[in-house]
């Protein structure tokens, strides 16, 4: 039998980490222009100042650059779906949603539309890959909180699914 308290604890942890990940900076970009950095920095120091991004500020920047549709997609896949998924898990933990069968299928669907894990992975790849002119990306604490949130959210789904995998749970 699944302990709903346990699901609640995990989903609450995931939610707290997710909110922290959204609030904290995820990455800092250090712009460089190769060997001309020093000279160009004199003329335009602000262009070479490190830029700090949170998930929300990155989405905001996409919006400001005039890409409304991409902003909507990003917002939906990195904010709305993960929030829904964690919200549903929280509600199950609080026993507000009693029907586990429907819940599982809903969470599975939401999980498939969640892009947070892709986002974290893409940032990791970006940080490893060298950028032109010696520019670099440094990952900040926010990314670790998001990664933790993803792991916990996956584990919450896993413990919910466990009885179904063993074909023991009555709701399966």
């Amino acid at each position: 039998m699944i302990n709903s308290k346990e699901v609640f604890r995990y989903s609450l942890s995931g939610t707290l980490l997710y909110i922290s990940g959204l609030l904290l900076p995820c990455m800092t970009v250090y712009p460089r222009a190769g060997e001309y950095t020093g000279l160009l920095k004199i003329f335009s120091p602000s262009e070479f100042e490190p830029k700090v991004y949170t998930v929300l500020s990155a989405i905001g920047e996409v919006y400001e650059s005039g890409h409304l549709w991409i902003t909507l997609i990003l917002f939906l896949f990195t904010i709305v779906f993960p929030v829904l998924k964690m919200g549903v898990l929280l509600l199950y933990g609080l026993k507000v949603i009693p029907d586990k069968g429907k819940l599982l299928s809903f969470i599975n669907i939401l999980g498939k539309f969640s892009m947070m894990d892709v986002f974290v992975l893409s940032l990791l790849v970006l940080s490893i890959k060298s950028l032109p002119g010696g520019s670099s990306v440094e990952l900040n604490s926010g990314i670790y909180f998001l990664a933790g949130s993803i792991l916990i959210s996956v584990y919450s789904g896993y413990i919910l699914n466990a009885p179904c995998r063993n074909k023991k749970g009555p709701a399966c």
């Binding site: 604890r9 995990y10 609450l12 942890s13 707290l16 003329f43 120091p45 933790g148």
Partner: protein, 224 residues
């Protein structure tokens, strides 16, 4: 038999208990992490607020050095005499001079055929750099430095705004500003209601000389 069953139950209960403990530990760690995130956000917010307060313009301070220049000037379409500025009807070739303590400190470059002229005094003199064979940071900003050292408050800085001519430069207006009336950053003056005045408006900027060269260049470029 019953003992065997109870030991089996205990065995199956143990991983559950362990998992329960783990969930509690993770929850506490997450709460701590969340508190950390909140404190960071509050700290950052306070930093931004402090920076915002610092950037509010203030009156010039005594014994502090300032770089001074005219950012923008707009002249009337006709000279004070009612005649055209230049032969052939072309607009004046504007430039200005800065005087402090009766000494000429600076002469700006000439903005040809302009009724509105803007000076952004950041640049690199390529000819000069090539001759010297090197580029130094202080070559980029060449502006006069002044200091308000007079305790009586009568100390002033004087600007001559002129129209460059082949024979003799025409003085459009002489502006005298007292340090006590000026502010750090941009100072706007409008003369639109003074019909015999050569100027429509002028913007005089004072820049803290103690700022880093990078910050000065940034402010001069942006004009903020």
């Amino acid at each position: 038999m019953s003992e065997e069953n109870s030991s089996n139950e205990n065995k199956s209960e143990e991983p559950k208990r362990r998992s329960g403990k783990l969930s509690v530990i993770i929850l506490f760690a997450s709460i701590a992490g969340f508190a950390y995130a909140l404190s960071m956000v509050v700290q950052k917010g306070a930093e931004i607020q402090t920076r915002g307060t610092e950037e509010v313009s203030s009156s010039l301070k005594k014994d502090k050095e300032y770089m001074v220049y005219i950012r923008k000037v707009e002249v009337n379409p006709k000279a004070a005499t009612g005649e055209a500025w230049d032969v052939g009807g072309s607009a004046p070739d504007l430039f200005y001079k800065v005087w402090w303590k009766s000494n000429l400190l600076y002469e700006s470059d000439v903005k040809k055929d302009s009724l509105i002229a803007e000076w952004i005094p950041v640049g690199l003199d390529l000819k000069d750099s090539l001759l010297k064979g090197s580029v130094s940071v202080d070559q980029l900003v060449k502006l006069p430095i002044v200091r308000w050292s007079d305790a009586k408050g009568a100390e002033k800085v004087v600007f001559d705004i002129l129209d460059q001519d082949l024979a003799q430069n025409d003085k459009i207006e002489t502006l005298t500003f007292y340090f006590k009336d000026l502010e750090e950053g941009a100072n706007f003056f409008s003369f639109i209601d003074k019909k015999d005045h050569g100027l429509i408006s002028v913007r005089v900027d004072f820049l803290d000389n103690a700022l880093s060269q990078g910050r000065k260049i940034e402010l001069l470029r942006s004009g903020k």
